[in-house]
Amino acid sequence: MTQLPTDIKEAETKDRNKLALRRMFLGRIVRSLSVSFWVMVIAFLMIRLSPGDPVRIALGAEATEAAVTEMRHKLGLDTSIFSQFYHYFTGIFSGDLGMSFFSGLSVTNVVGTHLPVTLMIIGMSILLGIILAIPIALFVALSKNQIATYLFRAFTSVSLALPGFFLALVGLLFFGTTLNWAPAAGYTGAFPGNLHFLWLPAVVNCGSLVPVLSRVLHSSLMDTLDEEFVETGVIRGVRKIRFYWSYMLRPSLAPTVVLLSYMVGVMIGGTVIMETIFSLPGIGRELITAVDSRDYPVVQGIVMIFGLIVVFFSFIGDLLGYLLDRRVTLS
């Protein structure tokens, strides 16, 4: 049986789409790997910014010459910079991020114990952010009311300008002391129980997440509303839920998903402060403690892990964004 011209054409476009997908996938992987490499290099070089000898500063002024030499040897700081980088770089792949100056724990150990709490807070914030942002953006986009749009703009830009750490303290004062809904300190690791400790930090994080998400979603919804297929949907009388999802949200989601992956980095910063305020045993509080005690290997390790996490999420976000909307052309 001979193929009809249209079939051939269809098959060709399918092939071309597949090829484009594969090319973009490979390109993104190469790019992410190269950025990851530079993240490692920058984290490695950071320790050299400290004025004077980092080991001597960390050990204090009273440290004996022998102790300094020994520590330097233990950290491999007495070798050339290239061999140091080689050890650091190969160490990362075998899960060795160095040892803490003081606690004697390996940095991998510190990250492994505390990262889950941080990721839990970020995950909760994102979930809550999505749940709040979608209806808000939909409501504002669908209401023809000018005042609603205006209020939406004003509220989002004001709430973006509010400092999260201050909101957290106000929240703690109000929900913790006055209403007694949230604990001021303490934490249990088990899943449903820990929500009691995590809900307020997640809500405060949403103070900056929801405005950003709903703004971008709102503007892509407005673009979608101009498309002809939305009108078709209205005329055909599609059921409400199907209309909202297939005609409005799905074609509009791609930019929001890409932005969400970018916001992971911003959220990590906010979460560090939340953990300090709510005394949560996350990796951010560990970072602040390490900064205070000048525990350089821990600082270096945590920063590098966060850098890699952000690279990973922006890779996933780009990919999802592309799959959701093939019209998106990626730079």
């Binding site: 190269s34 950025v35 990851s36 490499f37 530079w38 993240v39 290099v41 920058i42 950071m46 320790i47 910014l49 400290s50 004025p51 980092p54 703009r153 830009s157 004001v158 973006l160 300008a161 509010l162 400092p163 999260g164 750490f165 201050f166 303290l169 106000v170 703690l172 004062l173 002391t177 980095g265 911003v266 990590i268 910063g269 906010g270 560090v272 402060i273 300090t276 305020i277 970072l287 602040i288 390490a290 900064v291 205070d292 000048r294 350089y296 600082v299 270096q300 945590i302 920063v303 966060f306 850098g307 952000v310 690279v311 922006s314």
Partner: protein, 281 residues
């Protein structure tokens, strides 16, 4: 014709509300920062009043744990906070714009991809985490905050500037200047950079909000100015320890910080709408 003209005059220009509100709020804050510390009868850094006494007719914002007047301290901190943030934006804006522009117009592929990779690498780190880590290595203090902010943020400006410079470099007026035989330096500073920096300056305004908050947040984490210097973040840090006993040493500096952030947000929003209006005309 004349009718249309008067109509146009009477029409409120796009973004005016945001601009007026923003500049008004910022002006009030600066004015208060100038006047109140001067006319206040209390020294901002000198303890001596009854500690933790609530706001009343004499001490409008109450006193803190050490018995210092919170009102005087909040307004004494205006220039420290805004000034640090301003310098913390101006340095990376300048450095990033110049480096990004040079990358955008240079034809050296190797340097371009190397510096480009470094820029991508720096931008990959979460902003606040990277700044905190850098301060760990440089040491605490407001100068360190500025240095750390500059080391991190120039890369964001450079990325914007590079993309823009590639476009500007191909424009007719740059070509014309080249044909006229102007020197490379003159073309760069008179023709390319002004057109590139319109974009980076717009970003700088929204960045200013983030940096104002970041400076206070870093001080809140104990990485800013050493005591007794009045600074919003540091005041909130001190106040947070006695939050359940006295709310005023925490809330008032926090409100001042919000005020500053919101006023810049209004200016940014207004300016953005004004520019959009100009562009669509």
């Amino acid at each position: 014709m004349s009718n249309a003209k008067t109509k146009k005059k009477r029409q409120v220009r796009e973004g005016s509300f945001g601009l007026y509100t923003g500049f008004g709020m910022m002006g009030l804050l600066i004015l208060a920062g100038l006047i109140f510390p001067l006319i206040s009868k209390y020294d901002p850094n000198q303890p001596g009043l009854v500690p933790m006494s609530p706001p009343d007719g004499k001490t409008f914002f109450g006193t803190d744990l050490l018995g210092r007047d919170v009102f005087t301290r909040v307004f004494d901190a205006v220039f420290i906070d805004l000034g640090t943030a301003l310098v913390g934006v101006a340095i990376p804006l300048t450095v990033g714009t110049i480096i990004g522009t040079l990358l955008g117009i240079s034809k050296n592929k190797r340097v371009n991809s190397l510096v480009g990779s470094i820029i991508d690498g720096i931008n990959a780190f979460p902003f606040l985490i990277f700044v905190i880590a850098l301060i760990a290595f440089i040491g605490p203090g407001l100068k360190s905050i500025i240095l750390a902010l500059s080391l991190v943020n120039w890369a964001r400006y450079a990325r914007i500037a590079r993309t823009r410079a590639v476009v500007v470099n191909q424009q007719g007026y740059v070509e014309a200047a080249r044909i006229l035989g102007f020197s490379k330096v003159r073309i760069l500073f008179k023709h390319i950079i002004p057109n590139v920096s319109s974009e980076t300056r717009a970003y700088a305004l929204s960045d200013f909000i983030i940096v104002i908050i970041a400076v206070a947040a870093l001080s809140f984490l104990g990485m800013g100015s050493p005591p007794p210097q009045a600074e919003w973040g540091a005041m909130i840090r001190d106040g947070a320890q006695i939050l359940t006993l006295a709310w005023w040493p925490t809330i008032f500096p926090g409100l001042a910080l919000c005020w500053a952030g919101v006023s810049v947000a209004f200016i940014a929003e207004g300016l953005q709408r004004r520019l959009r209006e100009v562009n669509t005309k």
